[in-house]
Symmetry: C2
Subunit: 261 residues, 2 copies
């Protein structure tokens, strides 16, 4: 999908293999070769060979009875390796958890993947159980959420333009209105260092950036189920979020320094 670059330095087979993996998402769990071919626009024969390779590489497994493929345990291993490897996660997660429990709110950390935001970690506050991390890996739209807007805000202009183009393509109808809202969030971020959005009824979220290192920007949010007006809830959450952000950046600084041993 997307603009086909005449020819960059990209490896075609691998690109296609990745496209096949990405065809699996929550809701589309099991896919046969035919459906994969349809969704990716690849030739049947090609899909057949690539899925074989993905199976032998352990990223897909097939259910021969139902003639479908699904994602294999190896993707869990990769995710596990990633979480352990991320200094961001290992340093910040404990602070997030403590804050979620102390303030009785949800606290999330996210980064961008293509034109979606992905939760790297999310501690949900739940009055009964202690908060558990369930939604790591969950994808949410960039243009509708506080996390996504903070992300767009953090981007340099050229990259931001690319994102806008993706949004325009995805939502031609509401595009103009969305951008206007997005830029109102930018103003908030400029002025106050956070933005507040209530994209799901009864849920208020505030988000900010967690700028560290050279890579992709990370975003942090805090959210709460609430009946009070957005403004009010946001004003309550924002100081907590900004304080948490400050402490996280401190810790990251320390961790980076002590790593130079």
């Amino acid at each position: 999908m997307a603009a086909d670059h005449s020819y960059d330095g990209m490896n075609r087979s691998l690109e296609r293999g990745i496209a096949i993996l990405r065809a699996f998402k929550p809701g589309v769990a099991d896919l046969g070769n035919a459906e994969i071919a349809e969704r990716t626009g690849l030739a049947k024969a090609t899909v057949s060979r690539l899925t074989q390779t993905l199976v032998s590489g352990g990223l897909l497994q097939r259910d021969p009875r139902r003639r479908v493929y699904r994602l294999a345990p190896a993707v869990l291993s990769l995710a596990h390796a990633m979480r352990l490897s991320s200094p961001m996660l290992s340093v910040v997660a404990p602070l997030m958890r403590a804050e979620a429990s102390r303030r009785r709110v949800n606290v999330g950390l996210a980064a961008a993947d293509q034109d979606m935001m992905v939760y790297l970690e999310s501690f949900r506050y739940h009055p009964r159980l202690t908060h558990r991390t369930v939604v790591s890996g969950q994808r949410i739209p960039v243009e509708l959420t506080s996390l996504g807007r903070a992300y767009l805000w953090a981007l340099e202009p050229s990259a931001r333009e690319r994102e806008y183009a993706a949004i325009a393509k995805r939502r031609p109808k509401t595009y103009k209105r969305l951008i206007r809202e997005v830029e109102r969030s930018f103003a908030e971020l400029d002025r106050l260092g956070y933005c507040a959005v209530g994209w799901q009824p009864g849920v208020v979220a505030v988000a900010t950036t967690l700028p560290f290192g050279a890579g992709e920007p990370h975003l942090m949010n805090m959210s709460i189920g609430s009946v009070e007006p957005l403004e009010e809830a946001a004003h309550r959450l924002a100081p907590w979020l900004l304080d948490l952000k400050r402490r996280c950046l401190n810790r990251l600084e320390h961790a980076a320094v002590s790593e130079l041993s």
Copy 2:
């Protein structure tokens, strides 16, 4: 790595791309092109091109300053999609969690990936915090653990031989003794439906199979930190495990039936 099949129906570039992804594991978080080339045995130029493709596909991200790649958020999304898609997980996990809390033990669900076992889910009992799921995706050796032995036991002879060969290659020294131990576990599984292993000091684990559907076998275990002798602890855990297994299979049966609507 491993035996290079002269030429099966495998796509070489994709195979190599997967090999690169697999080079990232807990402990080896950041890899430069050079190190990837070394670890995978690929040519520098090839690695350079494939990593570019993986980055553009969102599976890797690069830290330009440190000149290294690491796994990208998209792998979390894939893992997330996988967990949601697995009927096994969604049906069985609640039962596992309840059991972990009720019996005050660790309860795990695993499947095989290549020659390792991968935890699909694991509820650790912890007296303080409620049990959380942390280790999903963690890899443990097949030959030393109760889960792994139950897996080997569930395999058909030809596949089991392949696993034996892999073990022999990995541990030429202790191979013979290991196989003897493994087959003692088989005897337990034949007689009692479970096997008990204490592969880490002070930890006793019992495991059994969770045969459902046509795909790869799933394994379930229960473990506990304990100072009592293995036999004794195992006798305490086994009835709980087998009862849990029975209830899980029931639920799976129901779920499968009601899916035919």
